[in-house]
Subunit: 322 residues, 2 copies
Amino acid sequence: MQRFIAEVLLPLFPTKSVGPLGLEALDDGAVLSLPEGHLVVTTDSHVVKPLVFPGGDIGKLAACGTLNDLAVMGARPLAVTLGLVVEEGFPIDELKRHLVSFSSVLEKFGVALVAGDTKVMGNGELDGLILSTAGVGIAEKFVPDAGLEPGDRIIVTGTVGDHGMAVLAAREGLPVEGGIESDVAPIWPLVEKALAMGGVKAMKDPTRGGLAAALNEMARKAGVGIFVREHEIPVRLEVKGIAELIGISPLALACEGRAVIGVSPDKAHAILEAIREDPLGHKARIIGEAVEEYPGKVILETEVGGRRYLEMPLGDPVPRIC
Amino acid sequence: MQRFIAEVLLPLFPTKSVGPLGLEALDDGAVLSLPEGHLVVTTDSHVVKPLVFPGGDIGKLAACGTLNDLAVMGARPLAVTLGLVVEEGFPIDELKRHLVSFSSVLEKFGVALVAGDTKVMGNGELDGLILSTAGVGIAEKFVPDAGLEPGDRIIVTGTVGDHGMAVLAAREGLPVEGGIESDVAPIWPLVEKALAMGGVKAMKDPTRGGLAAALNEMARKAGVGIFVREHEIPVRLEVKGIAELIGISPLALACEGRAVIGVSPDKAHAILEAIREDPLGHKARIIGEAVEEYPGKVILETEVGGRRYLEMPLGDPVPRIC
């Protein structure tokens, strides 16, 4: 996918920006220059399968995904648009449930749905439902992926891989003792607490490709190495167990309610404490730091004390994860 | 669809606006209040079938549809986002051709693609390709659907129904003598010429449901009647012929490069002349006027001199038209 975007998609669009951050940054949203503050715009198409999974559904996922892309840009969400593509004969009640999930998230933050579009495709032309969103937010000071400098600490705001594993388990009917719930949730309140402390340098939500993809992108874009300690990375035991069983890394599984935040070393503990006061941030940890060595690479100190590259996942281990 | 939007979709979203025009207006885009001028945001999902048709393809259609929604709000296009959903195994070269079509339209106006997202669905889960777009534009003074007052003249900027008929003919293999081409084209330059004259009160692009739907919406939103003369409405002979043959009204067929513009009577002829100077506007006509009688209704004076309601089409006669 990364190669496809770099080699096929990007060259097709000579004009990529109307402000300090455009398409070429491959960040979570675009920053458009405006007279007052920065308007942030983002887009996502949601094709998750199954439409309902433990902890959420496509509606909640689409709303959180959009608001979270704005949040990790440092933008307070302002408005969203929704393009709905629905299979002919899809039950109206089920559609309404998903849209109520979507709307509930927006309402919590007073975010307006300001424009929409609805299309129908025939039976056999589409499997269920697609929610395509755009989000608009305002950032006093936006936070790019690329802001890391050597010495900056890396915070992850909660356990990783819950969403990916919950969807995978629901889809494949994996027997999960106790159950695994998606972490899908809107993270703006948590992010706002972190931003208020000052010292936030880089931020990203680890969705497709999980923590591994997010860290690799942040390292590459900033031209720094990132050193992380496996035993500091919060992973639920159930997630870890099943991931080992089926041979995938929980670090490559998508999250939908987490952020990876790079912060100045002098502010790291204050920011960590602020994040931990948020209901979504109780399990936040400092998992490592940016370093001068190995620019563009992520080094993992494993639980047994060895070191290896944490590679960019070749693709998400779970298709249609979001 | 209209009932579905009014009864099912709208009640689900209590917050519908962050400025003077939001979702409830069901206009072509939303206007967000900003310190300087108005930022206009719009969204569309494009599912046209077939992906290539005489005069265009899904890429050109998606770009024009998005920019035209901004244009008929009175907004100069600034930036777009693209959510791409593609069927697994879709030929890359074909995808690139569609995206080049998309990009070419943007480049003509220096419009940036500022954010994007790509998802893949399996074989049998999606028929081909969906392009979901959002557009952002800036309007000095935005033009709503609802601005008509009695006495205002109604201008249509060119022949109607070409796009709908071109797609229908391509899909069904209808034998069309001489060929019918879609009118798909970006109309901002034409709209800009009209706006420069002053006196533009209401504007809409007649896409799904064609001219009939656009006029009915404009009449209903403004609480005026609209009186139009059938013999003044430009329709290509080929389009008219086939439409009669298969029993549908060309006035209900989608256009993708036209605008319906309501203008002050004192400016009507100056605006018409300005539009006719644009390459897309040679066939522009004043087709009627807003009246006090029959509020919310459209009255058609037929070619044989009778009068009847021009009803809101129950649905687009052609599914997956855009």
